[in-house]
Amino acid sequence: MYTSRAAIRVVSHVKPTQQVRYKRDKTGLNPQLERIVSQLSVMSAGRKQPRLLKLCNEDYVKHKTVMKAWSHYRKAKIQENEKLLQKQYESMKEAVSELQNLSPELFEIANEHQYGKRFPLELRVPTEYPPRQIWFYDYFPKQEAK
């Protein structure tokens, strides 16, 4: 009914791909399996969780207060941004409706749809530090092939 360990050790030189929960022999896993095991161990969460911070009550209250104040600050910033956008929207609307009354031809041109418009590729997401070469003085944009 049960196979003895000795019997299994005899067949173990074949190196099956299936893993058996026995003591590893000296030669270890074959390199392919070892690779898979190491790949899986990189991804597994075992022993990678950092220690839980232990805060005394005073530190805990301090932390909460600072975070709350910071979140209020961020919220205020977001609301300010929204207000600014709303103001821009209102003034855009007002300006275009005035243009509609003053000169319908210019309004037609101003009110065309802008699908297909692109930001220039030279527009960069700003970094914390300036680049080594600040400005390309000899730059001119590539001519598009027609």
Partner: protein, 305 residues
């Protein structure tokens, strides 16, 4: 008491009786969280944003460059670009009501929309509330050879984790194709969905390091997109080696796996999404098709339903 004939199957309605219990089944709606009932393990009861919780993860650790750029530069420009005076909503195809010609239609779910199965969205005029924004980036890595060599799916998963820094989820085959020896339930690769800082980090690596060095990459096709503001493109296994995480350690990556990247935006149309993504540093090539319904958005369309 007069009997009023009501068009229904129920015989109890006309008698003024309820056919079912009138007490609202509240107990189905209140979710009982057992850990809050027990006095044991108080540290597990903290919310995940609390520093005492084991789930706590600091996330506001650094400035989000892409987000900053969006709010400082792109957002107001996108509002200006998308605004059209007198723009009207373009109504999507919604589910239709039954005409109630048969009593069998009484409790039926609504009819399918005209000419399609899934209802389409209404496109509202440009407003401060519907400026396009990058919502998330999902990366899908399906490895064809994983059906023969299951270890390849593990390699692909690890590759995604190394590149994005987020734990991927495995993807499994759904269909049974005997000719390809594909059966449902086989692990075929991995997928990852990136939000917030992870998405920004991945996007800046992509636009600043990877895409400029791919020789044959001219830009994302202007025809790409799912109509609702999500734009997708793919990178082959040859392109993956330009990611710095892979490039600096090429010896440990004998085989690389290409993947598909979907940029999910809150844009209402693909055309709007492309304008946004061009501002984030992604080039677009090819001719663009704009649906005719989008072009005549100044005329008032009746809401048909």
């Amino acid at each position: 008491m007069t009997l009023v004939s009501v068009r229904s199957f129920s015989s109890s309605v006309s008698l003024g009786k309820a056919a079912c219990a009138q007490v609202k089944p509240v107990h189905h709606k209140v979710r009982i969280i057992k850990k809050n009932l027990s006095p044991r393990f108080p540290e597990l009861k903290y919310p995940s944003h609390d520093i005492k919780s084991p789930k706590f993860r600091p996330y506001l650790t650094h400035l989000d460059r892409v987000d900053h750029h969006y709010h400082n530069v792109l957002e107001s420009d996108l509002l200006l670009i998308g605004y059209r005076h007198g723009q009207q909503p373009i109504y999507g195809n919604k589910r239709r009501h039954w005409d109630m010609s048969s009593p069998y239609q009484i409790n039926r779910p609504l009819r399918k929309p005209k000419g399609q199965i899934v209802p389409s969205q209404t496109i509202n005029p440009r407003d401060t509330g519907n400026i396009a924004k990058l919502q998330s980036i999902s990366i899908n890595c399906f490895v064809k050879d994983a059906k023969q060599y299951p270890a390849m799916a593990i390699g692909a998963t690890l590759q995604l984790q190394q590149i994005t820094g987020v734990k991927p989820k495995p993807i499994y085959a759904k269909t049974n194709v005997p000719n390809w020896k594909l059966r449902p339930g086989m692990k075929m690769g991995a997928k990852v969905e990136l939000f917030g800082r992870d998405a920004s980090q991945f996007l800046s690596t992509l636009t600043e390091i990877v895409l400029p060095r791919i020789g044959e990459f001219n830009g994302i096709s202007n025809r790409a997109g799912d109509r609702y503001g999500n734009i997708a493109f793919g990178l082959t296994s040859d392109h993956i080696k330009y990611f710095p995480e892979i490039e600096l350690n090429q010896d440990s990556w004998p085989n690389l796996y290409g993947f598909d990247i979907t940029l999910h935006t809150t844009a209402q149309t693909d055309a709007d999404a492309r304008i946004l993504l061009s501002g984030l540093g992604l080039p677009f090539v090819g001719s663009e098709r704009i649906p005719k319904t989008l072009l005549d958005d100044l005329t008032v369309h009746p809401y048909e339903n």
